[in-house]
Amino acid sequence: MLFNSYLFIFLFLPVALIGWFFLNRIEKYKLAQAFLFVMSLWFYAYFDISYLSVILGSCFANYLFSYLLTKWESPGAKKGMMIAGCVVNLGILGYFKYFDFFLENLNVLFSADFTLKHILLPLGISFFTFQQLSFVIDRCKGKAPHYDLLDYLNFVTFFPQLIAGPIVLHSELIPQFQDRKKRRFDAGGFAQGITFFVIGMGKKVLLADTLAKAVNYGFGEIGSLDSLSAAFVALAFTFELYFDFSGYCDMAVGIGKMFRIEIPDNFNSPYKSASVKEFWRRWHMTLGRFFTTYVYIPLGGNRKGKLRTAVNTMAVFLLSGLWHGANWTFVFWGFLHGLGVSVNNLFQGRKKRIRPDESENPGRAVRIGRHLAQAATFIYVCLAFVFFRSDTMADGFLFFQRLLSGEYNGSIWAVADAVPISEIYIVTKALSMKAPQFLSAVNMAALMTVALIGAVALSRKTTRKMVENSSWSNGAALRIAVLFVWSVLSLSGVSTFLYFNF
């Protein structure tokens, strides 16, 4: 089930909230948790019921590790359990996500002919695997207790963060489930939750999904692009990805707040970063935290010299790339970011760091320097995303070839025409009948307006700051209601059936 669906908004979420607060109100605390667990399973199984066995198997296996650690406490046993935990979790992830990728590469490398298994990838497996991996490692290091089963199951399956993160730590979530003071409805949290959810839905449904049409067209017709259209498509994808993912995370945080469960932020205005390194402190922050805590630092972090730091950094980013998808395009994207961070590390020691939140009034030169660094970082991130979006490495390089061709063939107009915007349908339809020569210009103006709204939204405060600073006035309620209804109406569309063969 998606957050941005009628079923979720008008049935699932109300039922989940009413059930949760009702059962807690009559002090059936365990039953409330069991109810929440069942609702989360419904949410998850709605995509495909066969996924249930995977997530439940993974949950119970990790809980068993935790239980065994209460019996076997020797350092050797803990070490063995940590290895077993990593092997089991990464094994499950590897099988479902990377097995075919592995076979494809073997086939290419050795001219072999292994048959691909076309394994159905369970949704969110990357997220709930990492979440549980962090728990098992913490258990083995003595940093986590053995939790009550329901607490644990709610930690892994709590539906707002189940399929697309954020990657929440046990220490963040479970104490909140255990705190019975948080089991009562709270109007303040609920109002904040609504606002978070609606802003997130607007980002996802109105901005990301509209920009996606331009991006899908561009990446479907790479060969026809010129420098201008390729640049625009790359920029549009950079916007789309942010609004899509951060929108989803805002919705997750909002739903969490409705339940009085705080879910950590995943984004903090990442495109305002002045270096690739800073970008990773602001982009998908919970993933960055996971890799830093459980990979980078155990590898030695930056404590073993510059070369080792660079190697560790690159290892983390290559893994991060692979985590995003079983394709060399993601690995290469990770490599580009690893390279960017390594270069940042190299220069960091030579000059004074420009901090993002310097409170003292910086000098003009510093401000200009920071703006230039922000622009350079944004362009670098934007270009690296080309590989993130490309289906193959060849497509990625072809995209760059078109981008750097210096050609202009007018394909930017085709990109604009590929983005029908129903809000201006009356204008475009009238033009198509009476003055078709102006139609493309209007489509272009509409697409640029969407891109501009995106740019303005990116330059504004984070959703959290907007929520915290809300006046909760009647006007604010009306604005959020209009945004909500506009987003709801955008959940369904009318497709054009293009086949015309008979």
């Binding site: 008008f10 109007a187 809000e423 006035s473 209804v485 059936f497």
Partner: protein, 370 residues
Amino acid sequence: MEGEKELLQKQKRFIRNFAIQSAMLLILAGVAVIVFDPFFHYHKPVGSLKAVVTKAEYQCIGTVRNFDYDSILLGSSVAENYNNRWFDEAFGTTTIKGIKSSAATVDLIWYLKEAFEAKKDTGLKEVYYSMDLFALSADAEKVFPDDSLPLYLYNDNPADDVNYIWNKDVICEHIPYLLAMTYLDDYDEGTSYNWAQYKVFSKEETLSHYSRPEKAVPMLTEEDYKRNIDKNISLIEEVVKAHPETTFRFIYPPYSMLWWDAAYRNGETEQNLYAAGQAAERLLAYENAELYYFQNDEELITDLDHYMDTVHFSDEINHVIVERMKEGKYKLTKDNYKQELEKMKKLSEKIEREYIKEYFEDGRMQKGKK
């Protein structure tokens, strides 16, 4: 403490206002869609609104279930350019269309059964059935409607109507379009689903859409296609038999000679002739079935200026078809259908032997012909 209380009051008011305002806006949107109902899911056009019908996948089922009519025209995009009024004038009916692009027999029979169900009290006077040969060879066991269609318009589940009543495209595009076509345009309700006005019909256009199979392959044998075709014909036969009070007029549409050339090179000529022949043989056994065969009109199908691609002909041809039907011409009978199909077979051979050479030599397009 006072500040906190005040904040909490504000937040409570925010929640209440948000809920009320959202509900009001959603109700407003839903009511507008239900009243104007551009896909005719709930009712036929209200008041002076016209039946503006342009999107078969979304509107066909609504028109079949909710319009006033006594006859239905079934077919694929080849049938979309008929004006319903031509049939009404020719046969004294009130006709709507049951159209599905690339329709298989299963699809059309499903719409036909829906029409009989909708008119179970009065019955149907006439069924005009555009008999595409490809539809007779399509999968006879396919599921229709499938999830490529907006199922919320097809099923009886009122809950999933949210996809319709809270749909931005419906509100921003289809309601304004309905209003504009009703009040600002001289929209002809008989032209439901017509597209001919947006296309160019010419030899050049037709040839530009033809990608000739490189080599001719051996003809498929009866074993390859008989079972499926027979099943499809049974689906049609079953309905004809069940409704003796209804006249079924089956129209074999005239595809261009390029279509027959492609069929020949793909080894499908015999298959197509078998489908046409079997359908004729079995349906002619019923007194309430009439068949009209336009496929072997040599002058028509070899003149590519009537077409926009290998299959789709201009609306002028659609009009001529209805006129000829009215005159009782092009009719297949138990006595002549075998000769007519033999004529088609010979014409197909002549296309390969003579006509096609004007455009293609050794499988390649002649220079200057395109």
